[in-house]
C-alpha cells in the first residue's frame, strides 16, 4: 500500500535521510523508533511534502509527488509532532479534515457532516465541540487533532510522536485508540515513537532508524527475538505482568 523507495534528504552537506526504503503492510500498525536526530520526523515531513527529497514515496504503486495535494490528502492523513492551538472552536477544527473533499465554496454535504460527527464520537471529543482549541489540555488537543485526521477519511494515518504532551493515563487511552483504529476501522498506521515500552505494546511491525538509515525493518516478534532494540538503544529488557519493559543500563 505505502512504499518508500530510496528516500534521501540532505540539508547543506548534512545527510538527514540516507536511502531509506520500507513497505507498510495494509491494516497493520508500524512503529518507527530511533534516537533523536535519526531522521524520524524528517521522514514524516517527506510524506507531508514539506521537505524536498530524492527517491519515491508510493501509494498503491503511484508516486504521491505526482498526485494533486487534495488527492494525496484523501489517501494519507498526517499528524505532525508540533500542533498549533488556534483560537477556533473544536468543531471548526475537525471540519477542516474534510478539506480534501470540499470545493472553494466549502459546502459541507450530509456525508461530510456525518464524517465529522463520527470522527468526534470515535475519539470521544463530541462534548468539546463548542470549546476553543487553545483552551484544551494537551491530551484533549491531541484527541481533537486525531478526530480531524479521522474526518479526513484516509486509509493511511501517519502520526509523529502523538503522545508527547500527554500524562500517563491519557497516553494509555490514546494508544488503545490507535490499536482500535487498526482493528475496527482497518486503518494502516505509521507511528513515530520515542517510548520503546509503548512501541512494543502496540506495534505489529517495527522500523528502527539510526543516523538517517533503517537498521531494522520487520515484525515485532523478529525485532524482540534478535534483540534489536537492546542493541540499538543500549537498554535491557525485562517482563512484568505479561508486559515487556525496557530500561537503560
Amino acid at each position: 500500500m505505502i512504499e518508500a523507495k530510496k528516500i534521501s534528504v540532505s540539508i547543506g552537506k548534512k545527510t538527514i535521510l540516507n536511502s531509506v526504503s520500507f513497505r507498510l503492510k495494509p491494516h497493520t500498525l508500524t512503529v518507527v523508533v530511533g534516537k533523536n536526530g535519526s531522521g524520524k520526523s524528517t521522514l514524516v515531513s517527506c510524506f507531508a511534502q514539506t521537505k524536498e527529497y530524492t527517491g519515491e514515496l508510493l501509494y498503491s504503486g503511484r508516486n504521491i509527488l505526482l498526485m494533486s495535494p487534495k488527492e494525496r490528502a484523501s489517501k494519507i492523513a498526517i499528524l505532525p509532532q508540533m500542533l498549533k492551538a488556534p483560537h477556533i472552536h473544536v468543531n471548526e477544527l475537525v471540519k477542516m479534515g474534510r478539506n480534501p473533499y470540499l470545493d472553494l465554496a466549502y459546502h459541507m454535504t450530509e456525508s461530510d457532516c456525518l464524517a465529522v460527527e463520527e470522527a468526534m464520537n470515535w475519539t470521544s471529543v463530541k462534548h468539546l465541540e463548542a470549546s476553543f482549541v487553545d483552551e484544551l489540555s494537551g491530551g484533549e488537543r491531541q484527541k481533537v487533532y486525531l478526530a480531524l485526521i479521522l474526518a479526513q477519511d484516509t486509509r493511511v494515518l501517519i502520526l509523529d510522536e502523538p503522545t508527547t504532551y500527554m500524562d500517563v493515563n491519557v497516553e494509555a487511552d490514546f494508544l488503545k485508540l490507535l490499536v482500535k483504529l487498526k482493528n475496527e476501522k482497518k486503518k494502516t498506521l505509521l507511528v513515530i515513537m520515542h517510548n520503546l515500552n509503548h512501541a512494543v505494546q502496540i506495534a505489529d511491525q517495527i522500523i528502527v532508524m539510526d543516523q538517517g538509515k533503517i537498521v531494522f525493518e520487520g515484525s515485532k516478534e523478529e525485532c524482540l527475538e534478535k534483540e534489536i532494540l537492546e542493541n540499538s538503544f543500549h537498554v535491557k529488557r525485562y517482563e512484568s505482568e505479561g508486559r515487556l519493559f525496557f530500561e537503560s543500563f
Binding site: T50, L83, N99, P100, Q152
Partner: protein, 324 residues
C-alpha cells in the same frame, strides 16, 4: 451570515459615520446632513457634505477596511501577530516612491497616488519573490520584510538629505492624513480593496487552515506556498490602495485584527467581516476626533491613530500576559 456581534458593529459603524458627517469644524444637525446629501438643503450644506465631509468619511471607511484587512491577512499567513503592512515594507515602498516624485517631479503632483501604489506593490513583489526563493516560511517573510523596510527607509533619508524642501510634505504623508481627499481619487482604491476582499473571501476557509501550521495544512491538501503568495499579493493591494490616498497609517493593520479575532473567532469569514468593520469604525472615529478636538485646527488621523492605537495595543499585550 453575520453573527450578532458583527450586526452590532454595523450599527456602530453607521452611527460613527453619521457622527463623522455631523461634527467637525462646524456642527450640523441631522436635517442639515440629510438635506446636504440629498442636495435639498442650502448650498453651503451641500458643499460641506459633498466636497468635505462625505469624501472624508468615505476615505476613513475605505482606509480602515483596507489596512485592517491587510493586517489580518498578513498575520494569518505569517502566523505572527506583529505582522502588519508596515512590517513587510509596503508602507516604506510607497513612501520612497512618493518622495522620489516630490523631489524629482515636484510639479507632477497627480503622479503621487500612482507612484505610491506602484512603490507599495513593487515592495510586495520583491518580498514575494524573495520568500519564494528562500522557501516562503513565516519567519522568512517577516525578516525579509524588515530588511527591505530598513533599506527603503535608508533611501528615503538619503533623498531627504538631497532635497530638504520635500521633507515637510513627506512628513505629513508619513504620519497619515485624510484632508483634501476627493471622491474621485477614492474610486480606484475602493475597487481594488473590494476585489482583494472578494478573492480572500473565496479563499477564507483555506486561509484559516494555515493557522494549523504548514505541515498540517499541507497534509490536508492545501497548496501552502501558492496560497501564501496569493494572500500576500491581496494584502499588499489592500494596503497600497490605502497608502496612495491616506499616507502611512500604521496602527490599524496591527491592532484591529487582534481585537476582531476576539469579537468573532467562529470562522475566518466572520473574522474578516468584524476586521473590516472594526477597522472602518476606528479610522472614522479617529478622523472625527482629529477634526473636532481642536477645531478649526486639525490633527492628522495618523497622530490620532497612534494616540488611540498605542494604549489599546499595550492593553491587549497586558491582557494576554495576564491570560498566559
Amino acid at each position: 451570515m453575520m453573527n450578532k456581534r458583527n450586526v452590532t458593529l454595523v450599527l456602530v459603524l453607521i452611527a460613527s459615520m453619521m457622527a463623522g458627517l455631523m461634527f467637525g469644524g462646524a456642527s450640523l444637525t441631522i436635517e442639515e446632513v440629510i438635506g446636504g446629501l440629498l442636495k435639498t438643503a442650502a448650498e453651503k450644506y451641500v458643499v460641506i457634505m459633498w466636497n468635505v465631509r462625505l469624501p472624508r468619511v468615505f476615505a476613513a471607511l475605505v482606509a480602515g477596511m483596507g489596512l485592517a484587512m491587510s493586517g489580518l491577512l498578513l498575520q494569518s499567513v505569517t502566523d505572527n501577530p506583529m505582522a502588519s503592512p508596515n512590517i513587510i515594507g509596503v508602507n516604506s515602498g510607497a513612501g520612497l516612491m512618493t518622495l522620489i516624485v516630490l523631489s524629482f517631479f515636484p510639479k507632477e503632483t497627480y503622479l503621487l497616488p500612482f507612484a505610491s501604489f506602484f512603490g507599495a506593490f513593487g515592495a510586495t513583489l520583491f518580498i514575494v519573490n524573495l520568500s519564494k526563493r528562500l522557501g516562503s516560511s513565516k519567519t522568512t517573510i517577516i525578516l525579509s520584510g524588515l530588511a527591505l523596510t530598513t533599506i527603503l527607509n535608508a533611501c528615503i533619508s538619503f533623498i531627504s538629505l538631497l532635497n530638504p524642501d520635500v521633507v515637510s510634505i513627506y512628513n505629513y504623508f508619513s504620519i497619515g492624513g485624510l484632508s483634501g481627499v476627493s471622491i474621485e481619487e477614492l474610486v480606484l482604491p475602493a475597487v481594488l480593496i473590494l476585489i482583494s476582499f472578494g478573492v480572500t473571501w473565496v479563499l477564507s476557509q483555506k486561509i484559516s487552515i494555515l493557522c494549523l501550521g504548514d505541515a498540517m495544512a499541507s497534509s490536508l491538501g492545501v497548496r501552502v506556498k501558492h496560497l501564501r503568495r496569493i494572500v500576500l499579493i491581496c494584502a499588499s493591494f489592500l494596503a497600497a490602495s490605502v497608502v496612495c490616498f491616506a499616507g502611512l497609517l500604521g496602527f490599524v493593520g496591527l491592532i484591529v485584527p487582534q481585537f476582531a479575532r476576539k469579537i468573532a473567532p467562529e470562522t475566518m469569514k466572520q473574522t474578516m467581516i468584524s476586521t473590516a468593520l472594526c477597522g472602518s469604525i476606528l479610522v472614522v472615529i479617529a478622523d472625527l476626533a482629529g477634526r473636532s478636538l481642536f477645531a478649526p485646527s486639525e490633527i492628522p488621523v495618523g497622530i490620532m491613530m497612534a494616540l488611540i492605537g498605542a494604549p489599546f495595543f499595550l492593553m491587549l499585550l497586558i491582557r494576554r500576559k495576564e491570560y498566559d
